[in-house]
């Protein structure tokens, strides 16, 4: 019972945090806390088998899948929480509260019923008890879940797996292609210039300088430019020049 009173507020807070946090990753982590706490509550309610399954399946597999997809989508992208649909949030909160009240009111009645407890049902131990039921009364449902899992696997393959329809190009093919491109369109055949001419830290966001002093566009990944995180070489150059000037002035002042 102590476990419950410690965990319950934590779970509610985490659940709320999941709903309101701007970053999806934070939501996932909050959900993880709720799930692990739930596992403990299962253990507290004579369901050791579920305790294990909850941690293995939910926290271990389901949540990892969520995190995996979040990585693909962009882990540090944070969502705007400004509501764009008019009245949606207000109505959602109103309806959600109404719904919560109805649910709680419906469940509050249970107090009248006596708790039988699972001592008798778990007499062989929880796992054999569950197994006994699973392979008798619910055996068909159990078998049918295989259809679910196969569907899921097929579905993931269909939607996410792209079949390679033509042979993968070998290194030789690629080299030939590069030379052809050079011949046809004058594309530079060699490796691209490395970044970081002005690097004051080991950074890929600073473009290299060409011999004439202009920054080389090719030395920076397109993605970084798209994100707008490329350092402005001219600004850096100006800053350095300013520092140099100041040093000169200082030095000059010392001379005088």
């Amino acid at each position: 019972m102590i476990a419950f009173w410690i965990l319950a507020p934590l779970m509610v807070v985490c659940a709320l945090g999941m709903v309101v946090s701007r970053k999806a990753v934070h939501s996932a982590l909050m959900l993880a806390v709720v799930m692990v706490s739930l596992a403990i509550l299962y253990a507290a309610q004579d369901a050791p088998f579920l305790f294990a399954v909850q941690i293995i399946v939910y926290t271990g597999a389901v949540l990892m899948l969520f995190l995996f997809v979040l990585m693909l989508v962009g882990v540090d992208a944070s969502d705007s929480l400004v509501e764009t649909l008019r009245g949606q949030r207000l109505l959602a909160i109103a309806v959600g509260l109404l719904f919560a009240i109805v649910l709680v009111a419906g469940l509050a009645q249970v107090t009248v019923g006596a708790v039988v407890g699972l001592d008798e049902a778990n007499i062989d131990g929880n796992v054999p008890g569950v197994a006994r039921l699973l392979f008798s009364n619910y055996v068909f449902a159990f078998e049918v879940t295989s259809a679910l899992l196969i569907t899921a696997a097929v579905g993931a393959m269909v939607l996410a797996h792209r079949e390679r329809l033509s042979a993968k190009p070998t290194q030789r093919d690629m080299a030939l292609q590069r030379m052809r491109d050079y011949a046809d369109r004058g594309v530079h055949p060699g490796p691209l210039p490395g970044p970081g001419t002005f690097a004051r830290h080991n950074s890929v966001d600073t473009p290299a300088l060409l011999p004439d002093g202009t920054p080389s566009e090719l030395s920076i990944s397109r993605v970084m430019r798209a994100r707008g995180t490329v350092r402005d070489v001219e600004a850096d150059r100006a800053a350095i020049a300013r520092v140099d000037d100041e040093t000169n002035v200082l030095r000059g002042g010392g001379d005088r």
Binding site: M11, M35, R89, I93
Partner: protein, 99 residues
């Protein structure tokens, strides 16, 4: 120990989940909220199992986990597909079909 606190907790978690579905735009978070709803149901199942003294509720929770696992795979696959096409995981952006 009385089951009521567990049930109230489950109802609260369930309601928070529904609220999340309604207010969040990120499809992945929306889906997490659905998972929270399923988890809340599981808590109710386990609690009722103890109250009634039979293991059917625990079996139900077990089945829900299997179903949830399969659903997650399918759901995330669909969300990934739509993300790749639109470069956005916001459910509001997918609103070509209306009226």
């Amino acid at each position: 120990m009385s089951p009521t606190p567990f049930l109230v907790l489950s109802a609260l978690l369930f309601s928070i989940g529904t609220l999340g579905v309604l207010v969040r735009r990120n499809a992945i978070v929306v889906f997490m909220c659905v998972e929270l709803m399923l988890n809340a149901s599981n808590l109710a199942f386990v609690t009722f199992a103890r109250q009634h003294g039979n293991l059917d509720g625990q079996i139900a929770a077990f089945f829900v986990m299997v179903v949830a696992a399969a659903e997650v795979v399918v759901g995330l696959a669909i969300i990934m597909t739509i993300f790749r096409t639109r470069r956005s995981a916001s459910v509001d952006d997918a609103s070509l079909l209306k009226y």
